[in-house]
C-alpha cells in the first residue's frame, strides 16, 4: 500500500510496536503488512490477524471458515448455509436452556452480529464495545467444535431457511443471478446457489450436516481476526485461552478439484413470471480473484457501472431504456463472471437493452477507454477502500472476502494493484473477456397474470 493512503494503526501505536516482545510460545508471529499482524497458533494451525484501530471503543471479532457452497454437491446443496444457521442453536457453554443463547448474549451486549455464507467461505462476526471482546472470542471458540447440531433444532430451522429461499425467489435480481450461475457453470459447484436447491434444503439430514461440520470446522481451516480497539497482548492471551486447546483436524481438509472447462458458445435462458417489469442479465466468463487481470476487471466494472457518468449508465438510464444498471465483476476463488443486470423500463423492448450492453462492451474492447475514465474508476475504488476503514466491521467484511478468495495480503496489496491499472490493461481485458463464446444472456420476462 502506498504511503499516502497507508493504514494508520492508531494514535497509541505511532512510535511503532515491537514485533513479538513477550509473545507466548503458543504463537508464531508470521508477518506484518499495512498494519495487519499475522500470527499462527502452533498447536492447531489457527491463523490470527490483528489490526488495531483505537479511534472508537469498539472492535470486530470475526472467524472465517474456508468452506462455502463451493464445497457442496447435489443432495446437500445449501448445507453450508443451513449449518451456519444451526451454529446459533447452542453449545454446552451458550445454551438457550440456561438463558445464554449465542444471540441473546450478544444482543444484550449491544453487539452488531451475524454470520454469512457465500461461495467460498462462511464467516461469523460480532462488533462489540471493546470491553466485551472476551465474550465474542469465547462464543466463537465454543462453537468451533462444540455446536449441538440437534435434529430437533434442524427441523424448525429448515423451514426458516426455506422461507429465506422463498424470499429470494420473489426477487427478480436473485432469480436472475441464480439462473445465470446455473447456466454459466455446469461442472463447477458455483453452478448451485449458496442458499441451495429447494429439495436439498428440505431433504438434507442432520447427520449429513454434522458430517460437514466435522470435516470443515477446525482451527486449521479457519482464520480469526480482531479489528479495532484492543491491546495485542490481551487479545492474544484471550485467543490462546479459548482457541488454543482445540485440536487440529485428524484428516486433511478436502480440496475441490472440479473446474469449469472453457465455454464454447453463447448460452441463453428465459424466466417468465407474473410481473410488471422485465430484467436483463449479461455475464461473461472471467478469472479467479488471484489472477493478475482481476484489478483491471474491477476498474472496468467502475468504468461501466460506477455512477451516473459511467458508460452503461449513460447508455441505458440516461436514454430511458433501463431503470438502473448494476455491474458486478465477481471476485471468487475460482474463475467467475463479469455481470451486468438491468431492469428494463416498461414499454421498452428488452432486446434493445441487451443489444446496447453488448455494443458498449464491444466498444471498450475495440477502442478502449479514456485516461480520465480510467483515473476516475481507479479513484473510486481507492476511495472505497479508505471509507471502509471508518468502521471496523467493514474492514472485517473485506478482509473476510480477501481471505476466502485469495489471502489477506491480497487485501493489503489491492489498492496498489488498482492504482497500476492502465488504459491498455482495460482494453486488453475487455477484448479478452467480452467475447460471445463466454457469454450467458438471461431474460426475466413478465407474463400476464392468470385469469381470476
Amino acid at each position: 500500500m502506498g504511503t499516502d493512503h497507508g493504514l494508520q494503526i492508531g494514535i497509541a501505536d505511532r512510535n511503532g510496536s515491537p514485533v513479538n516482545r513477550g509473545l507466548s510460545p503458543e504463537f508464531e508471529f508470521v508477518k506484518e503488512q499495512a498494519g495487519i499482524r499475522e500470527f499462527r497458533v502452533r498447536s492447531n494451525g489457527l491463523r490470527v490477524l490483528l489490526l488495531r484501530n483505537t479511534v472508537a471503543p469498539v472492535a470486530t471479532f470475526c472467524v472465517v471458515y474456508h468452506v462455502g457452497s463451493r464445497n457442496e454437491a447435489v443432495g446437500h446443496t445449501g448445507a453450508t448455509h443451513l449449518l451456519e444457521h444451526l451454529m446459533f442453536k447452542g453449545t454446552p457453554d451458550f445454551d438457550r436452556e440456561n438463558g445464554t443463547a449465542v444471540a441473546a448474549v450478544l444482543e444484550a451486549l449491544g453487539a452488531r452480529f451475524n454470520a454469512t455464507t457465500w461461495f467460498d467461505r462462511t464467516n461469523y462476526y460480532e462488533t462489540i464495545p471493546s470491553d466485551r471482546i472476551e465474550t465474542a472470542i469465547r462464543i466463537e471458540a465454543s462453537r468451533m467444535r462444540g455446536a449441538y447440531l440437534r435434529d430437533s433444532d434442524r427441523v424448525p430451522e429448515m423451514t426458516v431457511v426455506r422461507n429465506e429461499y422463498e424470499r429470494g425467489e420473489n426477487s427478480p435480481f436473485q432469480v436472475l443471478y441464480k439462473e445465470t450461475f446455473a447456466t454459466a457453470f455446469r461442472e463447477h459447484p458455483y453452478h448451485h446457489p449458496t442458499i441451495g436447491w429447494r429439495a436439498d434444503i428440505e431433504g438434507v439430514t442432520t447427520a449429513r450436516l454434522k458430517e460437514f461440520y466435522d470435516v470443515f470446522y477446525h482451527p486449521n481451516n479457519a482464520t480469526a481476526m480482531l479489528i479495532g480497539d484492543f491491546e495485542e497482548a490481551d487479545a492474544l492471551a484471550m485467543i490462546e485461552r479459548d482457541f488454543g486447546r482445540i485440536p487440529p483436524s485428524q484428516r486433511p481438509i478436502p480440496e475441490v478439484y472440479t473446474f469449469e472447462p472453457p465455454q464454447q458458445g453463447e448460452r441463453r435462458f428465459t424466466v417468465r413470471r407474473t410481473a410488471q417489469v422485465a430484467w436483463t442479465a449479461l455475464s461473461w466468463r472471467t478469472v479467479a480473484a488471484r489472477h493478475p487481470d482481476t484489478p483491471a476487471l474491477a476498474v472496468l466494472g467502475n468504468v461501466l457501472g460506477g455512477g451516473l457518468t459511467a458508460r452503461l449508465h449513460l447508455a441505458l438510464v440516461e436514454t430511458s431504456l433501463a431503470l438502473s444498471v448494476t455491474v458486478v465483476p465477481w471476485q471468487l476463488r475460482d474463475p467467475a463472471l463479469f455481470s451486468v443486470f438491468a431492469p428494463v423500463r416498461p414499454g421498452v423492448e428488452p432486446g434493445i437493452v441487451e443489444k446496447t450492453i453488448r455494443a458498449e462492451a464491444a466498444r471498450v474492447a475495440a477502442e478502449g477507454v479514456t485516461e480520465a475514465e480510467a483515473r476516475k474508476a481507479r479513484t473510486q475504488i481507492e476511495a472505497e477502500v479508505i471509507f471502509e476503514r471508518d468502521s471496523t466491521d467493514q474492514v472485517a467484511a473485506s478482509l473476510s472476502e480477501a481471505i476466502a478468495v485469495a489471502d489477506w495480503e491480497w487485501y493489503a496489496d489491492y489498492p496498489d494493484l488498482v492504482r497500476r491499472v492502465t488504459t491498455d490493461d482495460l482494453r486488453r481485458v475487455a477484448a479478452t473477456y467480452f467475447v460471445d463464446d463466454g457469454l450467458t444472456c438471461g431474460l426475466y420476462l413478465p407474463k400476464e397474470p392468470p385469469a381470476a
Partner: protein, 437 residues
C-alpha cells in the same frame, strides 16, 4: 495527519460531545456542527431541512420527494452530469432525498476523502441554493419513476404496507399511500413550475441542519459553510402541522399476487408515539423485547426460532416528529400465514398482559447502550447521531446523556407506556402473496 484530541476523545467517551462538537448558528437560522476526527482521511456530512411530503398538497405528496431528487439535476452553473463528474471523479458520494418513513424532513448525506471537502461543500451549497429543475431531466425522471413504481408493485412487502396504510389512514393523510395508478397519474402530470414553486416555498436556511464529521479543521469548515450559506434566505419557520389522530381500523385484507413463493404480512395500528414523547425510550425498550430482533425478541424466538414459520419478523413504532404506525411485519410461506399470524398475536397479547421480565428490560438496556457505542464507531454514524439529536430539538448533550436516559427507564414505565399504545385486538392485518382460495 495529526493526533485528534477532540473527536477521538469524544468517541472514546473521555470528553463530552457537548464540549467536543464545534457549532455556529447563522443569522438565517442555519445550524452548523463540526466534530474533528483525524484518524482516517475521510469526511462525512449529514443534514436535514423541513421540506418533506408533509408540506406538499395532500393529493400530491410525492412532489416533495421529486423536488428533493431533482435538486442535483442541474444548477445555474452546471449540468447534472458536470456535477456528477465532479463528485464521481473523486470517489465522493452525495444525496438529498425525502425519507420514506419521515414525512417532515429531507435528508442530506454525503461523504468524501477529506482532501475533497471543499468541492463537496461547493456542490452542497450550489444544489441547495441554485437548482434550475431542467425540463428534460424532469421528463426522464418521470419516465424512470413510473417504471420504478411498477417494479415496486411487484414486491409483496410494498403491496402489504401500502394496503395497510390505506386501511389505517384517510386519503390525504401523510401516512396514506395512494394506489399505484393514482401516483403514476400524479407523476405524469408534474411540471418544473410545480417543483420550482415547492422549492421556493419550502427551501431555506431556517430549518437547515448540517453536521460535518471527520479529518477537517473545524474553523475552516464553519467559516466555509457560513461563506456559502450565510446569504441564503431563511425560508419558512420550523412549523410541523400535526394531522388529526386516527382511530384503529381492525380488520384484514389479502392482496392477491400470483407467482410469489413468499408472502408478506403486516399487522399495523396507529402507534400514537412520536420521537419527542417523554415515553419514547420506554416504548422503544419494550418494543425491543417484543420484536426488534428476529433472533432474540419474543416474536423472533416464538415465530422463527421455535416454530420455524418465518425468516424475518420485526415490530416497531414509526416515531418521528409525527406519530406513525406501530407495525409488525413478517414473511411466510403462504400456507403458513394463519399459523404465523396466530402465534404473533398470541405473543403480543401475552406481552401486553404480563409486561416484560426484569431480565428482558436489563438486557435491552445494556443492548441499547452497547449498540449506541457501536453505532458511534464511524464518522457517518456520529454525523447522523448529531443531526438527529438537533433535528428533534434535544441538542448535542443528548449524545452524552443517552446511556443514562436508557438506564433510567423502569419496568413499570415501559410496560405501561407500551400497553397504552398497542392494543392486540385492534390490528389491521394485510397479507400480500399467492394464497389458495
Amino acid at each position: 495527519m495529526t493526533a485528534s484530541p477532540a473527536g477521538a476523545a469524544a468517541r472514546r467517551g473521555k470528553v463530552p460531545f457537548e464540549q467536543a462538537v464545534r457549532r455556529r448558528t447563522l443569522a438565517s437560522g442555519a445550524r452548523l456542527f463540526v466534530l474533528e476526527n483525524h484518524f482516517n482521511p475521510t469526511v462525512a456530512v449529514s443534514g436535514s431541512l423541513n421540506a418533506g411530503p408533509l408540506y406538499a398538497p395532500p393529493d400530491r405528496r410525492l412532489v416533495a420527494g421529486v423536488t428533493a431528487g431533482e435538486l442535483a439535476k442541474g444548477t445555474t452553473r452546471r449540468t447534472k452530469l458536470e456535477i456528477a463528474e465532479e463528485l464521481e471523479s473523486r470517489g465522493a458520494s452525495f444525496s438529498i432525498a425525502a425519507g420514506s418513513s419521515d414525512p417532515v424532513g429531507v435528508d442530506v448525506a454525503a461523504a468524501a476523502l477529506s482532501r475533497d471537502v471543499e468541492v463537496l461543500l461547493d456542490v452542497l451549497a450550489e444544489v441547495l441554493r441554485e437548482p434550475v429543475f431542467p425540463r428534460d431531466e424532469l421528463e426522464k425522471e418521470q419516465m424512470r419513476l413510473v417504471g420504478v413504481l411498477r417494479e415496486q408493485q411487484d414486491q409483496t412487502s410494498v403491496r402489504a404496507f401500502e394496503a395497510a396504510s390505506r386501511r389505517l389512514y384517510p386519503p390525504g393523510h401523510p401516512f396514506h399511500r395512494r394506489r399505484a395508478e393514482e401516483r403514476i397519474a400524479v407523476i405524469e402530470s408534474l411540471d418544473r413550475e410545480e417543483l420550482r414553486r415547492f422549492y421556493e416555498e419550502r427551501y431555506g436556511a431556517s430549518t437547515l441542519i448540517l453536521v460535518v464529521v471527520g479529518d477537517v479543521d473545524s474553523d475552516r469548515i464553519l467559516d466555509g459553510l457560513e461563506r456559502r450559506l450565510g446569504s441564503w434566505k431563511s425560508g419558512p419557520p420550523a412549523d410541523v402541522p400535526k394531522p388529526a389522530p386516527v382511530a384503529p381500523a381492525p380488520g384484514s385484507e389479502t392482496v392477491a399476487m400470483p407467482d410469489k413463493a413468499s408472502a408478506d404480512v403486516v399487522l399495523a395500528q396507529p402507534g400514537d408515539l412520536d420521537r419527542l414523547d417523554p415515553e419514547y425510550l420506554a416504548c422503544v425498550l419494550a418494543n425491543s423485547a417484543l420484536g426488534q430482533s428476529s433472533l432474540t425478541s419474543r416474536l423472533g424466538v416464538r415465530v422463527r426460532d421455535t416454530e420455524g414459520l418465518t425468516y424475518g419478523i420485526h415490530s416497531g413504532f414509526a416515531a418521528t416528529h409525527l406519530a406513525g404506525p406501530f407495525a409488525v411485519s413478517l414473511t411466510v410461506k403462504p400456507e403458513s400465514r394463519d399459523a404465523a399470524v396466530g402465534a404473533t398475536l398470541e405473543e403480543i397479547r401475552r406481552f401486553v398482559r404480563e409486561g416484560m421480565t426484569v431480565k428482558e428490560l436489563a438486557d435491552e438496556q445494556s443492548s441499547h447502550i452497547g449498540r449506541y457505542k457501536v453505532d458511534l464507531g464511524s464518522n457517518g454514524g456520529i454525523a447522523h447521531a448529531i443531526d438527529a439529536a438537533v433535528y428533534y430539538g434535544f441538542g448535542i448533550s443528548y449524545l452524552d446523556e443517552f446511556p443514562a436516559l436508557v438506564a433510567g427507564v423502569t419496568k413499570e414505565e415501559a410496560d405501561a407506556a407500551f400497553a397504552r399504545r398497542v392494543d392486540p385486538e385492534k390490528f389491521t392485518i394485510v397479507s400480500a402473496g399467492t394464497f389458495q382460495q
